[in-house]
């Protein structure tokens, strides 16, 4: 066991020097590994951005060469020919509406489950929890026919509602914990002041849940924006495609039509909005991972 040496002895000074030598070695190795990993993360993106300004011929000729001319028209092609613009709008509509609905319904459900006693409360909570665990592949076939039966197959509202249903367990689960922690006094004070249940929720309790809502909303946004399986199975009308779907079909077409420049441009246009959301919220996101995932 190393003794805690006092400052004055030469041995301590020597050990300090050694230690800081060790520090430098450790720090250098750490930095080296972290930099290598960061390069592996960042370089593919930089390459995609570079390629998005090249012609197909230039791309196939050499992966590194700079474009002879920076072809911004690749972006125009991707936006119009590949229809990125239209599918972007579809995605915004579906994800936006689903997000608003799921946050509202999720908060309502979590609030009632967390703060009221009634028979069947436990059952509903456990069922919701169960909804978090099984793979969507188990239900993808029946889900297809449920939507077909109610006439919402291949429609944007149908997709949106499905998103709501599958984001609901997660939302309820985390907001439940959040509503549990809100103080009782506020609720009672509102009641005594004559606010009804509706008003208490919308004017008092919901605003108080703001921070928790924000965290869950960011996760839901990323999850729904990136959703692929549900649209591919349930939304097969090409007019109603969402962005992720269109990217997949564009890429498989590009194998034959080969407009790689436009493909890379489309990738850039898909990534940039999410990237902006990420950079704005990254601190909050990291915080939500911390509070949300661990109890």
């Amino acid at each position: 066991m190393t003794a805690i040496a006092t400052e004055k002895t030469p041995a301590a000074a020597e050990r300090r020097a050694l230690r800081s030598g060790g520090d430098i070695a450790v720090e250098a190795t750490s930095h080296l590994l972290l930099v290598v990993w960061s390069v592996i993360v960042v370089v593919p993106f930089c390459w995609v951005v570079l390629s998005s300004f090249k012609t197909t011929k230039e791309i196939l000729h050499s992966p590194f060469s700079l474009p002879a001319r920076w072809r911004f028209e690749n972006y125009a092609h991707a936006w119009t020919d590949a229809g990125i613009g239209r599918f972007f709008l579809n995605t915004v509509l579906v994800v936006g509406s689903a997000l608003v609905i799921v946050m509202l319904l999720g908060a309502m459900c979590a609030y009632v489950l967390a703060r009221f006693e009634f028979p069947g409360r436990r059952l509903i909570y456990v069922l919701m929890l169960g909804g978090l665990t099984f793979p969507i592949f188990l239900v993808i076939v029946p889900l297809f026919f449920v939507l077909k039966d109610i006439g919402l197959l291949n429609t944007l509202p149908g997709l949106s509602l499905t998103y709501v249903a599958y984001a609901l367990p997660f939302t309820v689960f985390f907001l439940y914990a959040f509503f549990k922690t809100l103080p009782d006094d506020v609720y009672e004070a509102a009641m005594i002041d004559g606010a009804g249940e509706w008003r208490t929720f919308f004017q008092i309790m919901l605003p108080m849940a703001g921070p928790g809502m924000a965290g869950v909303a960011i996760f839901n946004f990323l999850g729904l924006w990136n959703q692929f399986l549900l649209p591919v199975a349930l939304n097969t009308n090409p007019d109603h495609y969402v962005l992720t779907q269109q990217m997949a079909s564009f890429a498989s077409q590009a194998g034959y039509a080969v407009d790689f420049g436009a493909l890379f441009a489309a990738v850039v246009m898909t990534v940039v909005p999410v990237l902006i959301v990420y950079l704005i919220f990254q601190r909050r996101l990291a915080g939500s991972v911390a509070t949300g995932t661990f109890r």
């Binding site: 300090r16 230690r19 060790g22 520090d23 720090e27 930095h31 972290l34 990993w37 960061s38 592996i40 370089v43 593919p44 993106f45 390459w47 995609v48 791309i59 992966p63 319904l105 309502m108 459900c109 006693e117 009634f118 028979p119 069947g120 059952l123 919701m128 909804g131 099984f134 793979p135 592949f137 239900v139 993808i140 076939v141 029946p142 889900l143 449920v146 509602l161 249903a165 599958y166 367990p169 009804g196 249940e197 509706w198 990323l222 990136n226 399986l229 591919v232 992720t244 990217m247 997949a248 498989s252 493909l263 890379f264 990738v267 999410v274 990237l275 959301v277 990254q282 990291a286 995932t293």
Partner: protein
Amino acid sequence: MSTASTTSSSGRSGGPPRATVRRRLARWRARLTFDRVSFMLVFLGLPVAIFVVFVLIPVCEALFYSLTDWTGFSSTMNVVGFANFSKLAHDDIFVHAVRNNVLLAVVVPIVTLSMAFAIAVVVTMGGPATGSVRGIRGAGVYRIVSFFPYAVPAIVIGLIWAQVYDPAAGLLNGVLTGAGADRFTDFAWLGEVLSAMPASMFVIIWGSVGFYTVLFIAAIKGLPAEIYEAARLDGAGRFRTAVSITVPLIRDNVQTAYIYLGILALDAFVFMQALNPGGGPDNSTLTMSQYLFTTAFRKGQFGYATAMGVVLAIITLLFATIVFLVNYLTGGRERRIHG
């Protein structure tokens, strides 16, 4: 079921008859006003109705369809018992897919979590060994960069890497041949049986490490600093501290992360669909989910496909149980040693 029970004012609740509960219920009965009844109906009824229609009913239907020979569009449907499942057991392609998924579920979490843990440790405690325990310089930048792939749609990650792996024009072969490794000229990373699976795994790992790094950083920052000061005074080095102090303290977080990642790897649909939609050379990267999707939506064998879904769900459940058990058993031994 639920909407009816919300308006019920019977005093019996499942929980113990505690005074507060009784008081609340009494107050409740006194106030079965329109306000309250409508509130409960809407607040609970709406979400639960959506949940029942889109989640609960499909699950029950899935369990039933898996026992039939249903083709979806014909009205005839015969209950064939467990015939689908015994057929699955003899379906070479499916068995191969199961093997691929199990391989994914073993390798991907281990590599991802080791890397994420290493980065998290360095970022939180990689700083100088003197003074208070702190992270390496520039920790924030590394955190932001490594978390970034999480914000990119998985399908786009797959597409980007499919291009990076491209035999002729891809970035990877460009770098390798540029560095003098000429045998990689036109090497098809996703087209060779040997390399297709590792290359695909790498993409999943690449996309996941950042998220779990942030998770571990949060967990480590939540630990009391005194523990580390004490370990340092006792002469534990950085490596020793990370392995013998940090790992046991965040083992529950590791368990949660392991299960999340395992579920991701047992699915793996999006990545594989982007990298090798056809299942790869000799089905070497075919997953259960891809096979299920083709069987259902291309071949229309809905009964058979649903049976695959049931198998996938059972394997997922088994996986989670095994992780729980392993954590429980090793955790027990750990405590005995220190106790």
